[in-house]
């Protein structure tokens, strides 16, 4: 079992919320007892949620403990049963008891059977939810892949490779520019994740004089699985560049944070 993958799937958060089905919950409990790193992760999630919910309390509740403790139910001393006088055997009473007992056993059997069925049903429901999730994910992925393929195949599209610059020589990105539809698709798979509070901004450049025009931000970078972003670009771009900017973007590019740059090949 790939534990890192399991942790990053997000199932542990749902587990702490109590948002999983009983069966899924039991499964996570099993994994948690087996792998210490899963337990640590769960404890950290819990800590964050404890802090968040504590912050929504209107005031401190410590003082209530005294009155709660007064109301705690405690085991009471049992009184000795009072002996009842022995009576003559009453057969009618006995047969009545016997009949009730039989009925009780019967009911118990029926009840057990019903709860078994209910459990089966719950398990089947849980499996359905998982299947639904997998199908939805697969469909989403397939749709995206098809869309990307269509973009790349379009005859009006030209690909501009953007090479890593001084701050990030390893970085790399591609622009797929559809000049008919004025759309630029940015494939940013090989850009590092932006640090907290920073965002990538894409610039269209024209030379002589050098004029950068912002065409947009790579919003939600870490949440985007395929790291392909579509931006509108109506400019007669001669080059494209991507810089790292403070959240919200900048008016003009911060040149010492230029990550990648590439020129458009002359037609």
């Amino acid at each position: 079992m790939d534990i890192q993958k399991y942790i990053s799937s997000g199932i542990l958060e749902l587990y702490v919320y109590g948002a999983l089905s009983e069966q899924e919950g039991r499964e996570v409990s099993r994994v948690l007892k087996k792998y210490p790193e899963v337990k640590t992760e769960v404890e950290e999630i819990e800590k964050a949620l404890l802090t968040l919910s504590a912050a929504t309390a209107p005031n401190n509740a410590e003082h209530l403990i005294a009155s709660i403790k007064e109301k705690l139910s405690r085991p009471t001393a049992t009184t000795a049963p009072v002996a009842t006088p022995v009576r003559t055997i009453n057969w009618i009473t006995y047969s009545g008891w016997a009949a009730s007992l039989l009925l009780l056993i019967g009911l118990f059997v029926v009840f057990n059977r019903a709860s078994e069925l209910r459990e089966d049903l719950q398990a089947a429901n849980a499996r359905n939810v998982q299947m639904e999730e997998q199908i939805a994910n697969a469909r989403e992925d397939a749709e995206k892949a098809e869309e990307l393929l269509a973009v790349i195949r379009d005859r009006n599209v030209q690909r501009i490779p953007l090479k890593g610059q001084q701050v990030a020589p390893e970085a790399f990105a591609s622009v797929y520019w559809n000049t008919e539809e004025n759309t630029a698709y940015i494939d940013a798979k090989d850009l590092p994740e932006p640090p907290r509070g920073k965002v990538y901004q894409v610039w269209s450049l024209t030379m002589q004089p050098l004029t950068p025009i912002s065409i947009g931000l790579l919003a939600d970078f870490e949440a985007d699985d395929n790291k392909v972003f579509s931006l509108e670009n109506q400019n007669q771009s001669e080059a494209f560049g991507i810089t790292l900017e403070p959240e919200g973007g900048s008016e003009t590019p911060t040149m010492d944070q230029l990550y990648v740059l590439g020129t458009v090949a002359a037609p």
């Binding site: 919910s53 209107p58 509740a61």
Partner: protein
């Protein structure tokens, strides 16, 4: 391990263990209850009931089913929801539908020392709207993954992965 031992003591009816449990969880529980009920006095009553239930029902808690915190969460949410549905609860001046935990943090002026809530408040503001919604539904309101997916019109898997990113952000704030 310490936590497990404490729960075991509680299950055996140890009042000192109960006090420690109260100390550990009462404020968060109060926060959950208040976020649903929105009335300080009634929330206080429900909090007391919830801890009496924790005492009474502790022997039935089973770690195979989930975390102790989750068990408490469920008791608190259920008790709060029962309360607001009960006849004696008047909510004429409240619009429970539109409020979520973010409003409480924003309108709050006094915080306990246990939480650097001023700091937390600042960061919560920075959380994306979708994160606020996910955390509100899944954590505070106790929706299932499926209900949340329907409510937000978001695929089931996306609920899971998005929420993970949101909680990661929250954790980064809390640890700071």
């Amino acid at each position: 391990m310490q936590q497990d031992a404490l729960i075991l003591e509680l299950q055996n009816g140890n009042e000192r263990a109960f006090e420690r449990i109260y100390h550990l969880y009462s404020e968060s529980t109060y926060g959950i209850i208040y976020s649903i009920i929105r009335d300080e006095k009634i929330a206080e009553e429900v909090l007391q009931d919830v801890f009496l239930k924790i005492w009474d029902k502790a022997p039935s808690y089973n770690s195979d089913k989930g975390r102790f915190f989750t068990w408490i969460l469920n008791i608190a949410r259920n008790a709060s929801i029962d309360k607001i549905r009960s006849k004696d609860f008047k909510n004429d001046q409240q619009n429970l539908k539109t409020d979520n935990f973010v409003d409480i943090l924003e309108s709050k002026t006094n915080f306990s020392e246990a939480v650097d809530a001023i700091g937390l408040k600042k960061y919560i503001d920075a959380l994306k709207p979708v994160c606020k919604k996910l955390i509100d539904y899944l954590f505070f309101k106790g929706y299932t993954q499926k209900e949340t997916s329907e409510e937000l019109d978001m695929p089931l898997g996306t609920v899971k992965t998005r929420n993970r990113i949101c909680i990661d952000k929250l954790r980064a704030m809390v640890i700071k």
